[in-house]
């Protein structure tokens, strides 16, 4: 089992999937910062003063972390960042559900948004599983670092 999970091709696929999803989510939010700020506001959990700066910064961290994950730059560190985000989102969506908030998730920006719900939690958990796999079995294969040190042929 461990061998399958730590298979370098599977890890590459996980990295690509997670990376692209994060980039996609980030681009939607970067394109519409005020929409994302409103989404954060609707969660009613942060003081209004911090909302905009968070709406400006978070999507870029997601974007860079996703990009680095795809190209294999500092994989473990970026997996750590992404996992932290996923745990945070999971927490936020869950408590919003318990608080009975009928709000737009803001997960992928507000375009074609979906409301917070069980479906979002399941999506989040699946992504988190990918993130944990990448974090624990961080393979240097198909990464910028490995190309630099070994050359493409030796992979």
């Amino acid at each position: 089992m461990k061998e399958i999970i730590s298979n370098k091709y599977l890890l590459l696929v996980s990295r690509l999937v997670l990376g692209f999803i994060f980039i996609y989510a980030a681009v939607e939010k970067i394109a519409d910062p005020s929409g994302f700020a409103d989404s954060i506001y609707n969660y009613k959990i942060l003081p209004p003063y911090f909302i905009n700066i968070i709406a400006i910064v978070i999507p870029w961290i997601e974007f860079i972390a996703g990009l680095f994950l795809i190209f294999g730059v500092a994989i473990k560190e970026n997996a750590f960042i992404i996992n932290t985000f996923l745990v945070l989102f999971l927490f936020l969506i869950t408590i919003s559900l318990f608080r009975g908030l009928n709000i737009d998730c803001g997960c992928f920006g507000t375009v074609g948004g979906e409301s917070v719900g069980i479906k979002k939690i399941i999506e989040d958990v699946l992504l988190l599983l990918l993130g944990i796999q990448i974090y624990y079995f961080d393979s240097k294969s198909f990464s910028i670092n490995s190309i630099k040190t070994n050359g493409i042929k030796n992979q």
Binding site: S34, D38, P48, I56, V57, E77, G112, S115
Partner: protein, 197 residues
């Protein structure tokens, strides 16, 4: 070979991304201010809801929102005819005002929630246009004349899809669009009639 996470790298990534984000936001045409400005909620006065000449709209504080008075509507030339007054943007209404409009049957209520919430219960005769899938060519919209009074609502006072829907409708040319702030929760709490479909 197991490696430990290098927190220095994480801090560098977070810091660099943040700077990038702030710089981008600075030059981006849709950029927002770093500190969120207080949101002003425009409340419609009874007179405008009922279609009288008076045209002022009051603003009120909601969760840290500043109190401010705004003139939200203007009167055309003579100001005598009640049809001459127009809203400059959708205005919020209270439960009482919503109920008045409901009873008078002057307004069309539009539920902005998804079809499942709508099916569980809604204001009688309300139409359902989920905000998530709002489309200008929605067949329901073809049946509503532009001069009709519209009231949008969603789950309660903590959802914003009713105001988003109201803005969309306003953009389409509907000129009398109100947002029932308390929404479905307040409606049902007050014991007003509901309909399940």
């Amino acid at each position: 070979m197991k490696q430990k996470v290098d927190f220095k790298v994480i801090i560098v990534i977070l810091f660099a991304s943040s700077i990038l984000g702030i710089l981008f936001n600075f030059f981006y045409s849709k950029g927002i201010s770093l500190i969120r400005k207080e949101k002003v909620i425009a409340w419609a006065k009874d007179s405008i809801v009922n279609g009288n000449v008076e045209s002022e709209i009051k603003d009120k504080i909601i969760s840290g929102v500043k109190k401010k008075e705004n003139i939200q509507s203007k009167q055309l030339s003579d100001g005598k005819n009640k049809d001459n007054q127009i809203l400059l943007k959708p205005a919020f209404i209270y439960l009482k005002q919503a109920s008045t409009l409901f009873k008078s049957k002057k307004a069309i209520f539009i539920d902005a929630r998804d079809k499942w919430d709508f099916a569980d219960g809604h204001i009688p005769n309300a139409l359902n246009i989920p905000e998530y899938s709002f489309d200008n060519s929605n067949p329901i919209l073809q049946t509503i004349p532009l001069d009709k009074t519209i009231v949008t609502y969603c789950g309660g006072d903590d959802c914003d899809i009713s105001s988003k829907l109201a803005e969309n409708l306003f953009g389409l040319g509907y000129k009398k669009v109100f947002i029932f702030f308390g929404g479905w929760n307040e409606w049902i709490k007050a014991g007003y009639p509901s309909e399940v479909k």
